[in-house]
């Protein structure tokens, strides 16, 4: 089982990111679950969502204790939240960042999801839409295929700029 924890801020679309990722994994023939942890929901507050992907049906509902990957949609959250908590050694980190950041002991990938969203004019209520480009980045890392990412995005959003943003992130992320 591959387990992913997504850190975001309320209003950033972290919950939708988890659902899109599970949807894409499912379209790729895997079993997948997406379970957001709902706290007191307020805009800007730290939020976590969980995605599990496996070749067998998944029976676990409790929160992910030892993720294989941590996704951070807003790096400033690291001042408030320990994103490394329980992360497996040799685990992966995917950061939404315009500049490269590395963490010793972990494979870290950086991609400027916010910049991609703004360039594609994907801004809703003042917030750049980072969850659809995120799917492209996750495809590049190899969690899902780019085709599955496209299909999952099209299943939820009619605006094709979301698919283009995912393709941008796929192209921009250097492994």
């Amino acid at each position: 089982m591959y387990e992913i924890r997504i850190h975001s801020r309320g209003g950033q679309g972290g919950v939708t990111a988890a659902r899109l990722l599970a949807d894409a994994a499912f379209r790729g023939g895997k079993y997948a679950t997406a379970s957001p942890f709902y706290g007191a929901e307020r805009r800007g507050a730290p939020v976590v969502s969980f995605v599990r992907i496996d070749d067998r049906p998944i029976k676990v509902y409790s929160q992910i204790q030892h993720p294989d990957m941590v996704v951070v949609l807003d790096p400033s959250i690291m001042e408030a939240v320990d994103i490394f908590q329980g992360l497996k050694s040799e685990g992966e980190i995917l950061l939404n960042s315009s500049h490269p950041i590395t963490f010793e002991g972990y494979r870290t990938h950086c991609v400027d999801l916010t910049g991609i969203a703004i360039a594609r004019t994907l801004v809703v209520a003042g917030s750049p839409v980072v969850n659809t480009p995120l799917l492209g980045a996750l495809a590049k890392v190899g969690i899902i295929s780019l085709d599955a990412a496209r299909a999952a995005i099209r299943g939820m959003f009619s605006d094709n700029r979301n698919v283009q943003a995912a393709e941008d992130a796929y192209g921009e992320l250097v492994l």
Binding site: F26, A32, T33, A34, S35, Y38, K59, S62, Q63
Partner: protein
């Protein structure tokens, strides 16, 4: 309009319930939103709005009115559905007794959530347990697929001529209502026959509804509810067997996992009962012969054979001054001396590792409040 083809998709528990309702196509849906159930009635309203569901949708001003509207519609012979949660369910309380007494087969999804104060929106089973004695059938599901399948079966069970009682489908708030899992839909076809309510209002044959009823007749009406509740056991088995034959997924009053040769049974309801299977696998690897027994139907309560096995019950609802509701139900109907673990109230996090610990450190006959007086 009914879906013409089965689909494979990934969906939340709430979406699955709405999709099942769309497939069964009740004539009337009356509902009021409440977290974490709101997505069900929002989705149903969207189906009605886009024309893929022909139900008459009544957006009422309260849960009490939602149930009253369902009862009123049901008495005319219409198929009805509603959904609620927590305080919404409690606000219906008077009407829940009325629905059972009036013998109307209303189907309701209840997304299990704690009761305030303190204000809490997360899962526990106290809301459903508090309506235990209203005469409703109650079933607790553990996966998105089971939520869908059970909601479809619920209509046929409740509407069966030997039952004619309302039915509550329970699913854990957020843990299941908001978790996405794979879902395979079905095309119900004639699995759900037209509803025939023998006591439906018929203007050609006027009858009195809800008149003053003397003790002798009243007593017989109550016995009649209990007789139907007992008959429901067989109806449930028959409907679940037919569902399995047609659609390939088997259900029963309980779900057993590795119980055949088990020395210790871990008993739970809802999503805990599914995650317990992972605990059982871990315990088996250590050489502990554990099994998971998930109580699916709560009313009518299943007949359990627990003889010769140690029993650990995880209880997600409590009767203050008495004990865990599931624990006490098992003690009342079997000779078991369970180790009773009260856990998961108000959404308390309980993992399969914790559950395996309950089994390793069991103390038969005792009660433990997980994380409070825990020795795990």
């Amino acid at each position: 309009m009914r879906g013409e083809t089965a689909m494979q998709l990934i969906a939340t528990g709430n979406k699955a319930i709405a999709e099942a309702v769309r497939q069964v196509n009740p004539e009337v849906v009356a509902a009021y939103p409440i977290t974490p159930q709101t997505e069900i009635v929002e989705q149903i309203a969207a189906y009605v709005s886009d024309g893929t569901l022909a139900s008459q949708y009544i957006p009422v001003e309260s849960e009490h009115s939602a149930m009253a509207a369902c009862i009123g519609a049901s008495v005319t012979g219409a198929r009805t559905f509603t959904a609620t949660s927590s305080h919404g369910l409690l606000y219906m309380h008077e009407m829940l007794h009325w629905a059972a007494g009036a013998r109307v087969p209303v189907v309701m999804a209840n997304v299990n959530r704690a009761l305030g104060p303190g204000w809490n929106v997360w899962a526990e089973h106290s809301d459903a347990f508090s309506q235990r004695d209203t005469g409703w059938l109650q079933v607790f599901v553990s996966t998105v697929q089971e939520a869908y399948d059970t909601t479809i079966m619920a209509f046929r069970i409740a509407e069966h001529e030997d039952v004619l009682l309302p039915l509550m489908v329970n699913l854990d708030g957020f843990t299941l209502s908001h978790t996405m899992q794979p879902l395979e839909t079905v095309v119900v076809g004639d699995f759900i026959p037209p509803l025939h309510l023998p006591h439906a209002i018929d203007v050609a044959h006027p009858r009195g509804y809800g008149p003053l009823t003397g003790p002798d007749e009243f007593f017989r009406f109550r016995w009649d509810i209990e007789r139907s509740m007992r008959d429901a056991r067989k109806v449930i088995l028959d409907v679940e067997a037919d569902f399995g034959k047609r659609f390939g997924r088997q259900y029963g009053p309980i779900e057993e996992y590795r119980c055949e040769d088990a020395d210790i049974l871990l008993i739970a309801m809802g999503t805990f009962g599914k995650e317990a299977e992972v605990a059982v696998d871990d315990l088996r690897r250590e050489g502990i012969k554990a099994g998971s027994l998930r109580v699916r139907w709560f009313r009518p309560f299943p007949v359990l054979d627990l003889s010769g096995r140690d029993v650990v019950v995880i209880d997600r609802g409590y009767s203050f001054g008495f004990g865990g509701v599931l624990t006490r139900s098992i003690q009342a109907t079997t000779k078991a001396e369970p180790f009773s673990v009260i856990a998961g109230l108000g959404g308390q996090e309980v993992t399969y590792r914790d559950m395996a610990g309950f089994v390793r450190n069991r103390r038969p006959g005792e009660e433990e409040w997980f994380g409070v007086n825990t020795i795990v």
